[in-house]
C-alpha cells in the first residue's frame, strides 16, 4: 500500500454511494486490520469535524458517510430542485411505532394508531424504510414488520440502539418495558 491508509479510506468513502462500515472496507483492503481501519475512520471523522468545511464524515447506519452540514440544505435543495424528503404525519407516526416496537404486526400498529395502516405500510416499504421480517405463528400467518437499514440512513442513526429513548409514561404501574428514572406523580404535562 503506497498511500496512507487514512487517505485511501477517504477516497473510498468519497466515491461510495452508501455508508461504508469498517468491515466492508476491510473487504477491499484486506492487507490492513479492521482495528486500523476503524481507527482511521475515527480520525477522519474528527478531522473533518474540526476542519469546518461544508461537509463532514458521519457515522450512520453502522457505517460512515460524507454528508453536507445541515446549514447548507437550502442551497443544495435549490440545485437539486427536489422537494425535500417528506413523510406525512401518519407515515411518520407509523414509522415511529415500527421503529420502537419492532418486531411488530400490522394489527398491533393499527391498535396503537387507532386507524388502518395498509396504504402507509406500502409507502414505507416502497421507500425502503421498513422491511418484512417474517411471519408470526398465528392464524393467517401475519407478516412481521421492522425497520430497514435505509431507516437508519435517512434518520441519521448509527444503529437501532441510538434511537432516542421513548419518553416515560409516568406512574400508574404501567407494565411497560421501559422503566426509567424516578416516576413523578400523576397528570404529567408532556413537554
Amino acid at each position: 500500500m503506497d498511500k496512507p491508509l487514512k487517505l485511501i479510506i477517504e477516497a473510498l468513502l468519497f466515491a461510495a454511494d452508501k455508508p461504508l462500515s469498517a468491515r466492508e472496507i476491510h473487504g477491499w483492503l484486506s492487507e490492513e486490520t479492521q482495528a486500523n481501519i476503524r481507527q482511521a475512520l475515527k480520525e477522519l471523522e474528527a478531522g473533518y469535524d474540526a476542519m469546518g468545511r461544508s461537509f463532514v464524515l458521519k457515522e450512520v447506519a453502522e457505517g460512515y458517510q460524507f454528508r453536507t452540514r445541515s446549514g447548507y440544505s437550502p442551497y443544495v435543495l435549490r440545485m437539486l430542485k427536489t422537494s425535500p424528503t417528506r413523510l406525512s404525519r401518519p407515515a411518520l407516526e407509523t414509522l415511529a411505532i415500527i421503529a420502537y416496537k419492532q418486531p411488530i404486526l400490522r394489527q398491533e400498529i393499527e391498535r396503537l394508531r387507532g386507524v388502518d395502516v395498509g396504504g402507509i405500510l406500502k409507502t414505507l416499504l416502497e421507500k425502503g424504510l421498513i422491511r418484512i421480517m417474517g411471519r408470526k405463528n398465528l392464524p393467517g400467518r401475519p407478516l412481521i414488520y421492522g425497520t430497514a437499514k435505509r431507516f437508519l440512513e435517512v434518520f441519521d442513526l448509527k444503529d437501532l440502539e441510538s434511537l432516542p429513548k421513548l419518553k416515560e409514561i409516568k406512574d400508574f404501574g404501567f407494565d411497560e418495558h421501559e422503566t426509567g428514572p424516578a416516576p413523578s406523580p400523576s397528570s404529567e404535562n408532556r413537554k
Binding site: T85, L92, L112, R113, G114, E153, L166, F174
Partner: protein, 254 residues
C-alpha cells in the same frame, strides 16, 4: 370574520379524542367521560353532515365511549369505572402521545435529502469495470411490483399452472376438514393460500360450500372489517384419532 365551524380533519379517533381533551382543558387522567363522549359524537355527526366518510375506526371508539358512559349510570363501584376508563381510554391515549412525540423527535433529526445530503454516485466512476459477483440493488417491493404487473397483464382464468394435479372437491373437503381438526377454526382466505391456480381455487371454494351445506362447517364474520372465519361443527376433537377420511368424509361423498 371566519366561519363559525372550523373543522379539523383528524387522522384518527385518538387524535380527535386528544383534541377534545385539550379543548376542554381537562386532565388526561381525569377525563369527564360524559362530556367528551357527547362532543365526540357531535363531531362525528358534523362529519357525516358534511359527507365526510366516517371511518370505522372512529365508530369503534365511539362505541367504547358510549359503553363506558352508559355504565356510569349503573351503580358500579367508582373504582371499577375509573379502572375501565383508564384501560380503555387513558392508557391508549398515553401510548399514542408517547409514540406521536417519538415521531416528532424522529422528524427533528437531520434527515437525509432534507437537511443533509450525501454524494451521488459520480457517473465518471460508474461503468468503469463492473461485475465479478456484484451485489444486487433491488428491494422486495420492486419484486412484488414486478409480480403484480405480470398478474395484471393476464386475464383472470387464463393463469395456467404447470402443476398437473387435478383436484377433486372430495380431496379438498378432506383437506379443509383436516385443517379444521388441527386448528379448530381458520380464516376464510387461509383456505386458498396454497392454491396455485384458478381452477384449484374454485375447487376449494366448492368444497367449502359443500361442507357448509351439510352443516359440517360454520361460517361467520366477527366484525364487518374482519375476514370470514370458519369453525368446525362436526363433533370435533374427541373422536380425533383416526377419523381422518372415513367418518365425515363418507357423508360428503354423495
Amino acid at each position: 370574520m371566519g366561519y363559525e365551524v372550523r373543522l379539523d380533519i383528524f387522522e384518527g379517533p385518538l387524535d380527535l379524542l386528544l383534541h377534545l381533551i385539550h379543548k376542554n382543558e381537562v386532565d388526561i387522567f381525569d377525563i369527564p367521560i360524559a362530556t367528551i363522549t357527547d362532543q365526540y359524537l357531535a363531531y362525528l355527526d358534523i362529519m357525516k353532515a358534511l359527507n365526510i366518510d366516517v371511518a370505522g375506526d372512529f365508530l369503534v371508539l365511539a362505541s367504547t365511549l358510549i359503553h363506558i358512559k352508559s355504565k356510569m349510570l349503573l351503580p358500579d363501584s367508582k373504582e371499577e369505572q375509573e379502572g375501565e376508563i383508564f384501560n380503555e381510554i387513558t392508557r391508549p391515549l398515553l401510548e399514542y402521545i408517547r409514540l406521536r412525540d417519538a415521531a416528532q423527535d424522529l422528524s427533528d433529526r437531520e434527515l437525509l435529502d432534507r437537511d443533509v445530503f450525501a454524494r451521488h454516485v459520480p457517473p465518471y466512476l460508474q461503468g468503469q469495470l463492473r461485475d465479478e459477483e456484484p451485489q444486487l440493488d433491488v428491494n422486495l417491493f420492486q419484486l412484488i411490483d414486478a409480480f403484480k404487473r405480470i398478474m395484471e397483464q393476464r386475464l383472470p382464468g387464463v393463469q395456467l399452472s404447470f402443476q398437473l394435479e387435478k383436484w377433486s372437491v372430495k380431496e379438498k373437503t378432506e383437506i379443509i376438514i383436516a385443517h379444521l381438526k388441527e386448528k379448530g377454526s381458520i380464516f376464510f382466505y387461509e383456505l386458498f393460500t396454497e392454491d396455485r391456480s384458478v381452477s384449484e381455487f374454485i375447487v376449494s371454494f366448492l368444497a367449502l360450500l359443500e361442507l357448509v351445506h351439510m352443516g359440517l362447517v360454520k361460517v361467520f364474520q366477527p366484525t364487518l372489517e374482519s375476514d370470514i372465519r370458519l369453525t368446525a361443527s362436526f363433533g370435533g376433537n374427541e373422536e380425533n384419532g383416526n377419523v381422518g377420511s372415513n367418518g365425515q368424509t363418507a357423508q360428503i361423498d354423495h
